[in-house]
Symmetry: C2
Subunit: 335 residues, 2 copies
Amino acid sequence: MITSDSLRRDLDEASGPDEDARLAVATRADSVLRPRGALARLDEIAVFLAGWQRTTHPRIERPTALIFASDHGVTAEGVSAYPSEVTGAMVQAFEQQVATVNVLAREAGATLRVIDVGVGDPTGNLAVEDAMSEERFAASIEMGRQAVVDADSDLIALGEMGIGNTTPAAAVSAGVFGGDPASWVGRGTGVDDEALNRKTDVVRRAIDRVSSVSDPLEILRRVGGAELAAIAGALVEARRRSIPVVLDGYVVTAAAGPLGVAVPGGLSHCIAGHRSPEPGHDKLLSRFGMRPLLDLEMRLGEASGAVAAIPLIRMAAAAVVDVPTFEEFGLPPGA
Amino acid sequence: MITSDSLRRDLDEASGPDEDARLAVATRADSVLRPRGALARLDEIAVFLAGWQRTTHPRIERPTALIFASDHGVTAEGVSAYPSEVTGAMVQAFEQQVATVNVLAREAGATLRVIDVGVGDPTGNLAVEDAMSEERFAASIEMGRQAVVDADSDLIALGEMGIGNTTPAAAVSAGVFGGDPASWVGRGTGVDDEALNRKTDVVRRAIDRVSSVSDPLEILRRVGGAELAAIAGALVEARRRSIPVVLDGYVVTAAAGPLGVAVPGGLSHCIAGHRSPEPGHDKLLSRFGMRPLLDLEMRLGEASGAVAAIPLIRMAAAAVVDVPTFEEFGLPPGA
């Protein structure tokens, strides 16, 4: 059975970021041929990469986008603008390399992998029953972990595809962080007012079901979804292997929430790729103290907002590693 | 003599964006395999590119960053944290392909060209005299135009290098748009409070000198700088040739101001690459109704903020052109 305790044990021996590498890159960033601090957020990203890649020469050479896909029993409640069949159709599009995120990944020089954790095999309707059995939950987490092992990557962008999955995202967030359930519910891919009300009602019912549950991982199992569990697993494995991660939008960040609560520093290897217009996403980013790299009103999912940020992350590393210091260039320091 | 009238005449026969191409790409963006509007700002960029590239298949295949460099007599007033000699040193760094923007341009797949419009040949000290004679102003504008002709590019990122040049940026902006001169003055590459006061005083004196001048191009000549004039020229030529432009930070946007005022729609072929922390930049962006693609607190200049946005612009085009519509993919429209 996977609980917060078991995850903490898994990460017990995981190192934090390499502080020597961070310091070396921060020092170099302040010495290279530009006014100190002129690249601001990009320099911070370079330092972040140095810490988790454990090197004074951070690089993005093998970025991988992992997209976890699953179906959701809660679509029976009419919470989505699209029918469940679209999940499978989009997975086909990913595999045929024609979806939006395939095109973005090509431009970003990233590999894209789709992991089916339940397409055509919907989780339970979280309004009335647990989304996953303990077995399915554990298997989904394990699939997420294995995907990170298989990716052999120096930067992982996490994404998802699953019609209806902003509903479990809202339910997990409300369950883990509290507050008015309605404040965690948005329009997803674009539902009308009536569906928005149904969605809010579904989240309330889900939260009522888990009101006595305190373990955030157990909340994820009961009101989450298989791709959310897989994302949590991928985050654990990336943390264990010290691989930096770029989070996508609301669903991915909601899936990260339980780990962030269960394990101190459990998300310190993560940055936010973009800010989604879903109101719940902004609330999560504030809780985690994450400032997204992009804010372009994108609301696609599919890892699109994480992948769109990869070129900036690559630039951040190169702008420290490949630019000479004032002294290397033959000028007095800080000229 | 270059005046607002002469620029208006130059652009008299310039076309606006190709509305048919815009409509075709906007329609396609709403039909491709993703929820309508899910890429938001990126779809808007694709439509913008279609209009100015005059094609239903916008592409960024030959992006060029043009960096105009010059020195400024106003540095005698102690308005910069760096000595004038740094302008020439940085031009050397650009030419040796080692400066920050070279590294960013490499990552963005962009060509970088540096155009010397007055390195070691400072303009007049705008606190006490005109920055440029009419001849120098005309020659600088012409160098900017020629650089665009020579670039033969499908997207131009504009940048600058010139120690002291946030002072003419502030003076031009205050002269053209009015308001308290202090509100246009920021810390540039990082001056202390004392230098900031000197800088504000210099801008006040410059504005006093041109208080009776109404033509914004004449203000640019008298209180601007050679690289600002060249940028204005580049903008005119790009507008004439219907080439989309990405603006960099405060100095580039300030150089664009006179054209924006002189010619209706004179900047409609421009987008903002990023938002600089210089307070004046934000004021200009608001005036022009421009929302920058990036907001990462970068304050480098060198076209860095424009170049950093190029991968997003390339993604925006590809995400419309390379993604099939629902029908092309074999699904009912808008499934």
